[in-house]
């Protein structure tokens, strides 16, 4: 009997050690990126394409106001309410961060103190961004106005408030591989980079499982945000708009019925306005190329 419990205890310690090991943050090598010369002008395009301001600026901020990344927007989810942190170049924000720390935060989901970020930050998407785009993005953000507003803590209950558990989440759902694979035209490939690496369309348009992981088998097949708001299926299985209709929507915000929608997608339309039209066309080509998800 004593031997049985000793074995159980040993097994328990082994499992805990393995769990601790497996949930440890993994960081990528940043040497190559640090050697690059950042281009802050190109960084602005990356900034809008990646939708940073949509969450990190004040709610409803437009134009120049959207460049003050003071944080504070709240995102209600099944796991709790997440509060976007200040990412402006200040003491309260990310002004002191090195290039390596920035890359780990944006692409690995690991903060400078070594803790995991919640996947409310779409680092699984950003993980696919090129080194040059990431350092350009940092250079652009470094030139934005600073904000001294303190970041507020997330309002997340047990067990999700244990950040170490996010290591397990990353093991299960943190695969940064592209969803659309196979041969594709250079235009679709460019659209895939915009949609899957930068604009993180899938974060809202793909359904999530009980643990908050994206159900990539139903990629872009429609999701739910803010607890109840339905996000439409934008695969060819759910969206029968022509390419001209989708292009017009992404550049002007007008549906084929010439209704103009608000909500989170209004931010996306504003963001797309900063991209060259060839990029928006590439995004449209990508949307036409993703596997249809039946409604």
């Amino acid at each position: 009997m004593g031997r049985f419990f000793r074995r159980l205890l040993a097994l328990g310690i082994f499992a805990a050690a393995a769990g601790w090991f497996l949930t440890a943050p993994t960081l990528r090598d940043t040497q190559a990126a640090e050697a690059l010369t950042p281009d802050p002008v190109h960084g602005e395009t990356i900034f809008w394409a990646s939708g940073c301001a949509s969450c990190h600026a004040a709610a409803g901020a437009k134009g120049e106001d959207a460049k003050l990344l003071s944080g504070g927007q709240k995102f209600a989810t099944a796991f709790g309410t997440f509060l976007a942190p200040n990412i402006s170049p200040s003491k309260e924000g990310i002004g002191d961060w090195t290039t390596a720390q920035f890359i780990h935060a944006v692409q690995d989901g690991v903060l400078p103190d070594g803790s995991h970020e919640y996947p409310a930050m779409p680092y699984v998407a950003y993980a696919k961004m090129s080194d040059q785009d990431i350092v350009d993005l940092k250079a652009f953000i470094d030139g934005l106005p600073p904000s001294d507003v303190a970041s507020l803590p997330h309002d997340v209950g047990f067990p999700f408030n244990i950040r170490r558990s996010l290591g397990g989440w990353k093991l299960l759902f943190g695969n940064p591989a592209y969803v659309l694979t196979g041969t594709m035209t250079p235009e679709v490939e460019r659209g895939r980079y915009i949609a899957e690496a930068m604009a993180h369309c899938g974060e809202c348009h793909t359904p999530r499982n009980a643990l908050g992981g994206l159900d990539t088998a139903k990629w872009l097949g429609g999701g739910v945000i803010d607890g109840t708001a339905k996000v439409p299926n934008v695969t060819p299985g759910g969206l029968d708009w022509s390419e001209a209709d989708i292009l017009n929507y992404l550049t002007t915000g007008a549906t084929p019925d010439f209704d103009f929608v608000g909500g989170a997608m209004a931010h996306v339309v504003d963001n797309m306005g900063h991209l060259p039209e060839s990029d928006v066309r590439a995004l449209v080509a990508y949307l036409k190329a993703v596997p249809p998800v039946s409604p």
Partner: protein, 160 residues
């Protein structure tokens, strides 16, 4: 004291009276139905005219200067009609059938009217340029669209 006798005729009369009074009650419960229908009609008319210019911008039909100018004039005319008259206090989502207007609209009416003024400014730009050429029409359409979206974003309850 005479006892009230319930004859079939009296019963029918009572039923009719009850029906009338309840239907009257229904009408009283939604005094904003006309205003909501009117504002939806104005929006649809605007969407119809914006769609005519939009079809040219999308390349679905050839650019037609006269048709674009007429559609732009219609947009400006409809925009000038929209006011708080079609948005009476209380005609908000949940309180009036088919209404999607958020209560915030009446909490900050000056902001709403400001956004409406922006729409009229944008519509004037569209009128000035719609007949010039496709690119100018496209720019004007974009401005009107931004004005539409700015108001919808703040004051319209999303569907679903």
């Amino acid at each position: 004291m005479t006892r009230l006798k319930l004859t079939p005729l009296k019963l029918t009369g009572a039923a009719v009276a009850l029906l009338l009074s309840t239907s009257g009650l229904w009408a009283q419960e939604d005094p904003f139905a006309d205003a909501v229908e009117t504002r939806h009609g104005l929006m649809l008319q605007m969407a119809s005219d914006l769609g005519k210019i939009g079809a040219m911008v999308k390349g679905e039909v050839a650019y037609d200067s006269a048709a674009a100018a007429k559609a732009a004039a219609n947009v400006a005319a409809v925009a000038s009609v929209i006011s708080l008259e079609q948005f009476p206090a209380g005609s908000e989502v949940g309180k009036s059938a088919d209404s999607f207007a958020k209560a915030e609209l009446w909490a900050t009416p000056d902001d709403f009217l400001g956004k409406l003024a922006d729409l009229n400014t944008a519509a004037a730009t569209l009128v000035a340029g719609a007949g010039t050429d496709l690119d100018t029409a496209k720019a004007g359409l974009g401005m009107v669209g931004k004005a539409c979206a700015a108001c919808h974003e703040t004051y319209r309850q999303p569907e679903g």
